[in-house]
Symmetry: C2
Subunit: 182 residues, 2 copies
């Protein structure tokens, strides 16, 4: 039930710092890993930076295919998110094992995850810092959101088995869209 979401608003999904599920495809086989080392780098076109360790099975897929999907889960998926991080795509089919449903994307081969409320199709646009820091710059080329999810409770990794769950919303009208970070 996802609909397209304006690229100019993608920062509103990622800037609060949620854990995301990164999907990639390798030889036609999809894989998924949790990730919270990401940041917005530009509003339009939306650029996202992320660190994917070269110890992860997804690293080689991302580097070779230069495509991925960033899927944003809510708290209902928290146990699955943790489980996805504790096993390698080398050994298992995580979609099958954890009951995640792959959906075809439109601009990349990696799948959207049906159970996530938002999915961002991405192309790798810069790998200059990959060798030194495992840092990829991605461009979001298409965004999807489930409009029925009005108050998505994202989860935010705090380490050592702890996650902060998104709480209340504070409204502080400001003349600027951005925070000053741009």
């Amino acid at each position: 039930m996802k609909k397209t979401f304006p690229l100019s608003k993608v920062y509103r999904l990622l800037e609060p710092g949620p854990v995301v599920l990164l999907t990639t495809t390798r030889a036609g086989r999809p894989n998924v890993m949790p990730l919270s080392w990401h940041l917005m780098m530009e509003f339009m076109p939306p650029l996202v930076g992320c660190v994917v360790s070269n110890h992860n099975y997804s690293f080689a897929s991302l580097r070779a295919s230069r495509e991925c999907v960033i899927n944003i889960p809510t708290v209902e998926l928290a146990k699955i998110v943790v489980a996805c991080g504790n096993v390698s795509g080398r050994l298992v089919d995580k979609f099958n094992d954890f009951g995640l449903t792959p959906q075809s994307a439109t601009r990349v081969k990696a799948p959207l995850i049906a159970e996530c409320f938002a999915s961002l199709e991405c192309k790798v646009v810069d790998m200059k810092l990959v060798t030194k820091y495992n840092f990829f710059v991605l461009e979001v080329v298409r965004a999807w959101i489930d409009p029925a999810k009005r108050k998505p409770r994202t989860i935010h990794h705090q380490g050592e088995g702890e996650f902060m769950v998104a709480g209340r919303t504070l409204h502080l009208p400001s003349p600027k869209t951005s925070l000053g970070g741009k």
Copy 2:
């Protein structure tokens, strides 16, 4: 009342994606700006990447001094955080105007902010992506935390005047410290 905080645990403060207040010093004069475009890049030594727009007064200070402090505010400071983003350090002394108290750091010239529960002294270690993306890689060289703040309610920018306030903590014990992002 801040005490030193282990560098190996810095990721636990930044990974959830809080808005931070970045302080820099230029010709002996401190400045501060809100920022939420940041990510963890390495555990030890802790590396943090951030985008500081070249439209911001802090950009030139950061590039020239190669030093800054990342201060983490809680919800009580939300109005001040927004105010800091709506005026330039070119025009005003934000510490004075917004009642923020600068404290001397030990490893850098930029000040800690007394009112923030955590402060991370940082040195710029990589500027390869500064020209293209305004992206700096920082190393945290000393970290401070107020141990009296047991449940710091950080704020997380969602754009258009909205902030998510950190909610409850979910415990999901896992054999791994990290999430799979590393």
